[in-house]
Symmetry: D2
Subunit: 156 residues, 4 copies
């Protein structure tokens, strides 16, 4: 899909250092501790590391954490498309393909597949640093009638 | 599905007080901070509260956290079926149906729909305390060849 | 969900005999050859029989035909809610739980789980006549801006 | 994924003319009337045309037919991997992205994403002949213990 390469949110996010980004993040985003690597319209790449507290009893990446990372990535990417109204996820489908033991570096990517007037269809995947696919997902997000206040679009 | 009502794991989990359970939990399970309310073969009910750090920018329950809670519930329920070999999630499909603002009490339920020799099909849902459905999901889990060491099945 | 029990479409469908219904159906609906058994607002029940030409090489119900039946049931049910604008499916998630050999009588049910202003979330399942679950699915449908012409709402 | 480029099934299918292929097909496969264009290990491409009897009331491709086409493509592709035991679908997730009116030529592709010992994860998509994506899906198939009799692997 063809998307514009600039809007105030994209510019702001690109202007932040990883430390500033981390300071901005809150709640579960900060807990996940990822680092954005590519910020494009309709595409987002970030790196995460599998920590001990992100694992299941087999000591590999918990499926629910993989789901959380991918949901978070797609939500942020849709926000960065610049729509003045908030979006919300309708659904999230995840497939878990390979294990990722503690310490694995994860490269997570989110991409817009279709940007409709109401519904945005996205995909996300997580690979390890050898390119092996760990998890993949797709999600439909709907644009709501709630306007987004971009008040935080200034460095603190 | 007809399932046996007793095995060492079920008995052990039923014997724990909420405080002991919390001590046993680790990583993301402890972070979620839920409390088990019903422990049945093939059915698990737990309560959670939507905390500030579990929300999206609309300050309602983050879809990824809902996914994480439901994945965790289904995984624990399958563990409590007593199979000597570890399971792993093949996929997780979530639908997000209503908002749950900060402070909402969540009742999460996981149920076995089909217990095959290799594949176990489960459902999970989250409701608020008025019974309104917040999120629902289904998941297929596969039994692996990795034996489970139940060494922690003793109170510390 | 609370839904009104009458609108011209519901009344019309209820007035048809199976033979009239079959005459009305077209394309793939006629090919499927189901018979409606319950027509309620937000719930639809129909019976089908697994024919030879609906099977996979194992000579059991083809997963794609199960998907087709459930998609068809949910679409018809949403139509019978009486909305003046056409709906379209955003997604369809199916799980296949048991085999249904040639000759099996199938009871297919579709239900509305959430009727939002824009998005309608439905479930559908197929059971055999002993109540064993063959397949289940969920789907999100979105209301479009295309008005429905109900011109066919008269017996031919 | 790396897959072997030859087995008796692949060779046989590649040896057939479209007319012979059509004669071989049965039931719903013959009804769909597709034509195979590429037969590779782990990848299959076929063309279909949207007929009047494949549409919904909007006279565009019925979502359930799109689901059926993609399920059929993935099943055939997994069969062509050459495994001596039959597979069966565990689940099928479809997203419907654009309309395809009557007469549209459809290019359907199925691909193996992960070939595990027990579970095979596949994707399928349908595009129109301008490359616009109409529908996409993913599916997990499990290898059963039912041996496949390849008796039909000879021209009639």
């Amino acid at each position: 899909v063809q998307l514009e390469d600039t809007n105030p949110r994209l510019s702001f996010f690109r202007s932040l250092s990883p430390a500033e980004m981390n300071q901005l993040a809150s709640g579960v985003t900060r807990w996940l501790g990822g680092e954005l690597k590519e910020i494009l319209p309709g595409k987002l790449v970030a790196e995460f590391v599998v920590r001990e507290d992100m694992t299941n009893p087999l000591r590999t990446l918990h499926g629910g954490i993989a789901a959380l990372i991918m949901d978070e990535m797609m939500g942020m990417m849709v926000y960065l498309l610049g729509n003045p109204y908030a979006h919300t996820s309708v659904n999230l489908n995840c497939d878990f393909l390979h294990y990722a033991p503690v310490g694995t570096k994860l490269i997570a990517t989110a991409t817009v597949i279709r940007k409709g007037k109401n519904i945005i269809h996205c995909e996300s995947e997580i690979r390890n640093d050898e390119g092996k696919i760990i998890a993949k997902s797709s999600s439909n997000l709907v644009i709501t009638s709630v306007p987004i206040k971009d008040s935080f679009l200034k460095k603190k």
